[in-house]
Symmetry: C2
Subunit: 234 residues, 2 copies
């Protein structure tokens, strides 16, 4: 278990001075990385095994959207571990100690060369199966139809140290398609995301969005599905 | 003068694990904001005067591109102040105390409603005219022609707390147009940027790039120029 302290900086907020889900997601993943590093199974440790961590699913629930200049902390721990997946929990608290968000992330390890899944049987890691009141990430599927469609060619700024499109970029694309009109009125109550396969530099992706007043569903597809996401709006 | 300490996090690096100019720019601007806040003329202080800081020009020179997991510090101070502009200097040092980058930024204040320039005569701020070996941001102009052109509609994730496209987003667009092939081989030796006017949510911008082997020039135009940038490649 690790707790890191942060502040909501100008670069983390939107037009209304509220912390974006993308910025919060980045801090959550950063804290997970710090915890894994400090326990000897971080990305640099996995490099020695020619492998790396990849996120397969995540869910985040927001109690309150934080504002610029607020101080907050993120606590994370490994909740469970099996042969292929490990699940982390994440608790975000403001400076008064109130929970502002909860998240759960499901990780696997891939070989850096073949990009295929590697067993986690070598991983010796204490787990802490403490419930934080967030249900597992939902399994999402392709919807029968979407009302909005865009194309995006994967670019330099999309690619992270793992050589593929960064997890939170997809969420940024989804929010951009949702648009300011909705984001002025509503907040993200719960976000689910499933990462099916990697996308690479230069690939052209099709981004698809469908919306009701209370839910948005999103899919990124190349020759087959790359990722799915859904947002329940508060 | 203020010094803040940071670490190069996974979200700050590119495909090669090297800190991006966009991430470094964000930390530089964040440190400037912290210094202004601590001295009583930060964005929140200016809000009380219905005004806000805007960046009009900046230049950054890189000695060495830092890598993921490195610790670094940024020191910033106000170098000069006149009726309309104030100039800051910024020094980035690695954990051995070696300078990895220098930057200089020129700021002005606008009224939040009219968006027009406000005099800085009210600003009581000690200056420190210490030379750090970086020349003033170059004045850039529209080139006679550009070899590459793209359109970009300004979206939710482009807009910052000031209600306009964020400074470092433009730099991200420029690097995306430059492309991975060059960024694999070359590093940013010096970047100059001039911000001419704000761009807003929903606006369609034309992004133009021209390149020689050693220099890239970039312009963003709506009905008139929005910003110019140039990169000298190392």
């Amino acid at each position: 278990m690790l707790t890191c302290n942060y502040k909501v900086h100008p670069k983390d907020v939107d037009f209304a001075g509220r912390m974006t889900v993308v910025a919060l997601g980045d801090y959550i993943l950063q804290t997970a990385g710090e915890d894994a590093d400090s326990r000897g199974f971080g990305v640099r440790d996995l490099e020695k095994r020619d492998s790396t961590w990849v996120l397969s699913r995540f869910a985040i629930e927001t109690e309150r959207t934080m504002s610029e200049h607020e101080y907050f902390s993120i606590t994370t721990w490994v909740e469970s571990l099996d042969r292929i997946f490990t699940t982390r929990h994440h608790e975000v608290r403001d400076s008064s100690g109130n929970v502002t968000a909860r998240a759960t992330t499901q990780w696997s390890v891939i070989n850096r060369t073949t990009r295929s899944l590697v067993s986690l049987e070598w991983l010796d890691c204490a787990t802490e199966p403490r419930d934080i009141g967030i249900s597992r990430p939902r399994r999402l599927r392709l919807a029968p139809s979407y009302s909005l469609e865009e194309r995006h060619r994967v670019r330099y700024s999309d690619i992270d140290f793992n050589g593929h499109t960064n997890t939170t970029r997809y969420i940024g694309w989804m929010l951009d398609m949702v648009g300011m009109e909705k984001l002025e009125r509503r907040t993200v109550k719960r976000l689910d995301a499933n990462f099916i396969k990697e996308s690479r530099y230069g690939e052209t992706l099709v981004l698809r969005l469908d919306e009701t007043d209370d839910e948005s569903v999103f899919a990124v597809v190349s020759d087959s599905p790359v990722m799915f996401a859904s947002i329940a709006w508060g």
